[in-house]
């Protein structure tokens, strides 16, 4: 009796992940940031909301006038900057995850339907996608936030409802490719319902694309939140959002530059880690699809 020609490679993906240096490093950073976000109450030396107006704008370590009690100094309200940065990880990751969850759901659904059914359904959904692409996101996002009030929830919902386009476009074409494969025909000829074909046959095959886009979109969601908060349309005070911290500190740029550098660097490294991880994931998942 014939045996399979290859050994089981179920753990292969993990092994490859582990042997890919950029992915390993970015993954570790990401993991560390997630841990920081989850364990923020344990890690943060102070309550990120606790003000002390008499101890404002203390510089971080390495600057003259540094107060050892505040490793990274204090902000304009005397709040511990390190604690706010630590809690800011929460906000950014929360935004990243929830936005991608919403956008991924909407975009993947649209992409699957358009790619699988084609024809009229595709035309209508393509029109929806195009309309979305022709909408100026920033303008619309600002308007939405003004309507529903600026809050974490509003920001998440707005970005979630606006960032689905890449999911839709990519998943649509991936679905078209998958749907053209014979195993989908086989499923149809066996009498599978469309729902079953979409969820059991096609979805698992586009899921790797979804994951890859999700990581990359997570990066843009985090950046967009920061930009919106920077313009005053994002998360509300006194929530420690990095974008908001940047926005508040921007006028101090020339005098207390660390107020700008620190959250900016935090933002940069988080998004960098997310993107490098996404890239690595794409290479690895793509490689598996090819073989």
């Amino acid at each position: 009796m014939a045996k399979p020609v290859q050994s089981n490679t179920g753990s292969g993906l993990l092994r490859r992940l582990a042997s890919n240096a950029p992915v390993l490093i970015s993954g570790s950073i990401l993991l560390a940031l997630v841990v920081i976000a989850v364990a923020a109450p344990l890690l943060a030396p102070y309550d990120p909301y606790a003000q002390d107006l008499s101890r404002r704008l203390l510089p971080p370590i390495g600057y003259a006038g540094h107060d050892p009690a505040h490793f990274l100094g204090t902000d304009g309200f005397g709040r511990d900057y390190l604690s706010r940065l630590i809690y800011g990880t929460r906000i950014s990751l929360l935004i990243g995850f929830s936005v991608v969850l919403i956008a991924g759901f909407i975009g993947t659904t649209i992409g699957l339907l358009a790619g699988y059914f084609g024809g009229k359904v595709d035309q209508v959904l393509m029109f929806v996608i195009n309309t979305r692409l022709a909408m100026p996101v920033f303008l619309a996002a600002m308007a939405v936030v003004v309507v529903f009030g600026a809050s974490l929830t509003a920001t998440v919902l707005t970005l979630g409802f606006f960032l689905w386009d890449r999911f839709a476009v990519v998943i649509r074409s991936t679905t078209q490719q998958v749907a053209a494969q014979d195993f989908v025909l086989a499923a149809r000829s066996a009498g599978f319902s469309n729902t079953r074909i979409l969820t059991r046959e096609i979805l698992p095959n586009v899921l790797s694309s979804v994951v890859v886009i999700a990581t990359l979109e997570m990066g843009s969601a985090i950046l967009l939140e920061a930009a919106l908060s920077f313009l005053g349309f994002g998360v509300q005070e006194p929530t420690p959002s990095w974008g908001l911290m940047l926005s508040q500190a921007r006028e101090q740029l020339f005098f207390d530059a660390w107020l700008i550098y620190l959250p900016g660097l935090a933002l940069l490294s988080l998004v960098l880690a997310v993107n490098i991880f996404g890239d690595g994931l794409r290479d690895l998942l793509g490689a598996r699809d090819r073989t």
């Binding site: 107006l53 003004v146 509300q236 006028e251």
Partner: protein
């Protein structure tokens, strides 16, 4: 990351120096950067209604009367003399020999046209209150006019010396507001060379400005004004010599800029007052703020001194009144004081049934930086504030539609030094009155229509007493404006928040 560290190094270096305005001094050009409060939307400031519009108006136009900043005394500008003919009629003699920048002679027709046009229903005037008191203006002869007011209006002289410039009637009738904005023509110390709306305005000294105006003739020949909305961009321009003066600096920036060689910076108190309004009139249907004990508790909970000292570099004053103490009739003695006393606040809250704390929704008009400090104070006595800091329009919408049990805002009284510009606006009944206190309404009606200063003082004091006793508002502190300028420039800020750019000169 090498770039980052070099940037950090760079930033600390640059804290040391600022490029001098030597070049500007040489070509005798004053470069002004403004726009922190939003761009000047219309140089015709009756319609534009912006703060920078007032500054611009001061440079390009004149008013009938000018109030002396030092003495508070009213001096004749385009008018030389005035007197009340009766309760509702003010007659003014106009100055001879004044001409507009386009050569047109100034006369009674200009006054009649300007005020009648602007006070007309649907004139488009942004703030009705500024012109609403005028019923009509009548030309007596070529150099005499009579202003007829709707009601007796004791603050008329203050208003006439405020944001009520006189336009050349033929020109305005011909080009309209947009034309006036794009190519302003006035009598003032500066003439307009070029307007790039929302971007840059170029002015040149009016060399014919020697008809005896209480405003001085301009000392610097050229003025270039640039709209720069971002404070940090203004700072960068200031330090790199791109601009010579700005008036949008925060207290923190003023503190820092004052230490930069080649620059000077100063805070100056303004007539603007910062207030938390409370919905005592049950519009938001919030039982907590309808309870006077809660309102008083909130008043006790806020550490005004701490905020002023730490956040406003001590340049502001703490307020106990619902108006600015510099305004006529705004008596601090009349006000019930609420010194910072968190324990008393907690006790009052407990007494009102909120021993376990209180959730309060507060709307604020962005940017409202002080909101966070206030939230910190309130949190300390168990008031959990959920803050909606939104653009002015959204804030106002929430406030009017009764969505806001508490609203943090500021009020500039149109730069009018009269308590009525604040108290009467907010407590005389109507939609903006969230107290609807019958007595207060009566007192204010009296105060706004009698001409006897003593009587007015008395009724305003009664109103202030009631408003503070009932704690309809939480008066916080006065506003400050931060100026920063090139050390080569001889610059003095004024308390009425209006820089007199024509008075400044190079050292």
């Amino acid at each position: 990351m090498f770039r980052i560290s070099s940037l950090i190094a760079g930033a600390s270096l640059l804290a040391l120096t600022a490029t001098s305005a030597f070049a500007d001094k040489n070509d005798d050009t004053l470069r002004i950067g403004w726009g922190g409060d939003g761009v000047m939307i219309n140089a015709d400031n009756y319609l534009g209604g912006t703060r920078t519009g007032i500054w611009f108006t001061k440079m390009v136009w004149d008013t009938l009367i000018e109030r002396d900043n030092a003495t508070g005394e009213y001096k004749g500008s385009l008018a030389t003399a005035w007197q009340w003919v009766d309760d509702k009629t003010l007659e003014l003699k106009l100055r001879e020999g004044v001409s507009f920048h386009n050569g047109a002679e100034f006369g009674a027709d200009d006054v009649v046209f300007t005020y009648n046009t602007m006070s007309a229903e649907n004139s488009g005037a942004r703030f009705r209150a500024i012109v609403d008191w005028i019923d009509h203006v009548e030309k007596v002869d070529a150099m005499t006019v009579r202003i007829h007011t709707k009601e007796p209006f004791p603050q008329a002289l203050e208003f006439l010396s405020g944001p009520m410039p006189i336009y050349p009637h033929k020109y305005y009738a011909q080009v309209g507001s947009v034309g006036m904005s794009n190519k302003p023509v006035g009598t003032g110390p500066y003439k307009v060379v070029e307007m790039k709306p929302g971007e840059q305005y170029t002015l040149v000294r009016n060399d014919d400005y020697d008809w005896g105006s209480p405003k001085s003739k301009a000392k610097i020949t050229n003025v270039i004004i640039r709209e720069i909305p971002d404070a940090q961009t203004q700072v960068a321009e200031l330090m790199s010599g791109g601009i010579d003066v700005t008036a949008d600096m925060s207290p923190d920036l003023v503190t820092r800029l004052a230490g930069v060689p080649g620059l000077e910076a100063k805070m100056s108190e303004t007539l603007r007052i910062f207030i938390i309004g409370l919905d005592a009139a049950k519009r938001a249907n919030n039982p907590a703020v309808n309870d006077v004990r809660v309102r008083q508790a909130l008043n006790y909970a806020i550490d005004r001194d701490g905020i002023v000292k730490n956040l406003m570099a001590g340049a502001a004053r703490t307020l106990s009144t619902p108006c600015h103490p510099l305004q006529f009739g705004c008596s601090e003695e009349a006000a019930v004081k609420y010194p910072y006393d968190p324990e008393k606040a907690k006790a009052l809250l407990a007494e009102a049934g909120f021993a376990d704390g209180l959730d309060l929704t507060m709307y604020a008009e962005a940017p409202a930086k002080e909101a966070e400090a206030i939230m910190g104070n309130l949190a300390a006595v168990g008031v959990r504030v959920s803050l909606n800091r939104v653009p002015y329009e959204a804030y106002r919408d929430a406030q009017i539609s009764g969505k806001a049990p508490a609203f943090l805002f500021n009020w500039g009284s149109y730069s009018l030094a009269d308590a009525s510009a604040s108290i009467s606006f907010f407590f005389k009944g109507g939609e903006d009155d969230f107290a609807q206190d019958k007595d207060v309404i009566e007192w204010l009606k009296t105060g706004d229509s009698v001409t006897d200063p003593a009587k007015r003082k008395e009724v305003y004091a009664s109103a202030i007493g009631r408003i503070t006793k009932e704690a309809y508002w939480i008066p916080l502190f006065s506003g400050v404006r931060g100026y920063a300028w090139d050390a080569d420039l001889d610059f003095t800020p004024y308390a009425d928040e209006i820089p007199r750019f024509y008075e400044y000169s190079w050292k």
